[in-house]
């Protein structure tokens, strides 16, 4: 998902306190920043919320790439609003992470030097306008699958950030579906572009949910703590079941010859993505990893004089005011 393969930190706390903490979570209580919490809970959450925030921020790059080249003024305004929302999502989440005792600069630094990750999906390129439609439809669609249950997560600030985000997210998916529908219903060339976008983005979208449950070793503790609400395969299945009819409506074909409805299970059977590709992208070898990190580093470095200048101005103004009093 936006947070993939989050390793749960082991916890070495007083067993009595741990049991009381778990009881609060089991009772559906929210944990707030000043409440006692196990060190492992705090560290795992910083990593998960941080990775989620970084994904929102880096996720602006593939879409921002098309703002100036949107086909109409209306599409441009819509895409701009969507990308601006993603910046907001990143900010809500950074603030939630900061309540756990990490500073904004620390967490930014960890993204910039590669110690923290963002979702694998944003290491794939957006080659043309059809990709922008497909991203909204599939990538935001997959994100929603994960974010909706996270509204009930045990950590208060994270839960509240998720509630805000979910309110904005369905606009994202709808505008994407609307854009790709226009192309699927357009000229044969446009329809071909829509199909091509689906072909390229289908498996990377399935990868967003993280490795298969049988290879995903860190889930149990996170699920007990309610910072992970469903298993990777559960969410992936839900996404496939929801997306297949949407593709059918568009007259597009999911690039999976083995995809078929399984009457007995009441779900679609589908082919897993190539996990070796996923691990390779996570390691830094996807088509855009280098570009994405370079763009974030450049933005941070280029913005330094603005951050420093505004702070210096604010301090000067405050000092002047103080002297006048």
């Amino acid at each position: 998902m936006y947070a993939q393969m989050i390793k749960s930190e082991a916890t070495q706390d007083d067993p009595e306190k741990l049991a009381a903490f778990q009881a609060r979570i089991d009772a559906g209580e929210k944990i707030e920043p000043k409440d006692w919490m196990p060190e492992g809970y705090r560290k795992t959450l910083i990593r998960q919320i941080g990775q989620h925030a970084h994904s929102e921020i880096v996720g602006q790059l593939p879409e921002g790439n098309w703002i100036t080249r949107a086909p109409t003024l209306e599409r441009k305004a819509i895409l701009l609003a969507k990308v601006q929302d993603e910046a907001g999502h990143g900010l809500y989440l950074y603030c939630a992470a900061e309540t756990l005792g990490v500073s904004r600069d620390e967490i930014t630094e960890m993204l910039l030097d590669g110690r923290m990750k963002y979702s694998s999906i944003f290491n794939y390129p957006t080659l043309n306008w059809a990709d922008i439609g497909a991203v909204g439809w599939l990538v935001d669609g997959a994100a929603i699958m994960n974010q909706v249950p996270l509204q009930r997560t045990s950590f208060g600030p994270y839960s509240r950030a998720m509630i805000r985000i979910c309110k904005e997210e369905s606009f994202h998916q709808r505008q994407g579906y609307d854009a790709i529908r226009k192309m699927a219903e357009g000229t044969p060339e446009q329809k071909k572009m829509a199909q091509d976008a689906l072909n390229r983005l289908w498996y990377p979208s399935l990868m967003m949910f993280g490795p298969s449950d049988k290879d995903s070793v860190h889930s149990a503790q996170s699920m007990a703590w309610k910072i992970k609400m469903n298993t990777n395969d559960e969410l992936r299945q839900k996404f496939v079941d929801q997306t297949v009819p949407q593709a059918e409506y568009l007259g597009l074909t999911i690039p999976d010859p083995d995809l078929k409805w399984n009457e007995e299970r009441g779900h679609y059977d589908y082919t897993d993505p190539d996990w070796s590709e996923f691990f390779d992208v996570i390691k830094g070898n996807g088509p855009c990893n280098v570009d994405r990190l370079a763009a974030r580093n450049k933005a941070w470095d280029d913005g330094a004089w603005v951050r420093d200048g505004l702070l210096a101005h604010a301090k000067k103004k405050a000092a002047r005011q103080h002297a006048a009093e």
Binding site: K34, C95, E109, E168
Partner: protein, 94 residues
């Protein structure tokens, strides 16, 4: 990188007649920029008609461990609620 902008807590009045409610926080160099940023971050869909910003380190908060001493005393004072009193029906609305 030790030149971080301070953190501000943001309060928004959602509609006329309502009180301001905490919606989240953000970083800004000063109050004026905090209000501008709050407008972009927290009111993109008409969520507000008024914004308050307070630098986070100026907020004093009660501690979670004080829950008992602070709130338990009121639990026994049921007579503070109107439903504690039986009023004869003949008296009419009260």
């Amino acid at each position: 990188m030790k030149n971080e902008w301070p953190l501000w807590e943001i309060f928004i009045r959602g509609q006329h007649g309502m009180s301001h409610r905490h919606v989240g926080s953000l970083h800004a160099p000063d109050a004026e920029m905090a209000i501008k940023n709050a407008r972009d971050v927290y009111t993109r869909r008409n969520e507000g008609v008024s914004i308050w910003v307070v630098e986070a380190n100026h907020i004093a908060a009660s501690s979670p461990s004080d829950k008992g001493p602070l709130y338990e005393p009121s639990e026994s004072k049921v007579y503070r609620h109107p439903t504690f009193f039986d009023i004869p029906e003949e008296v009419g609305a009260m």
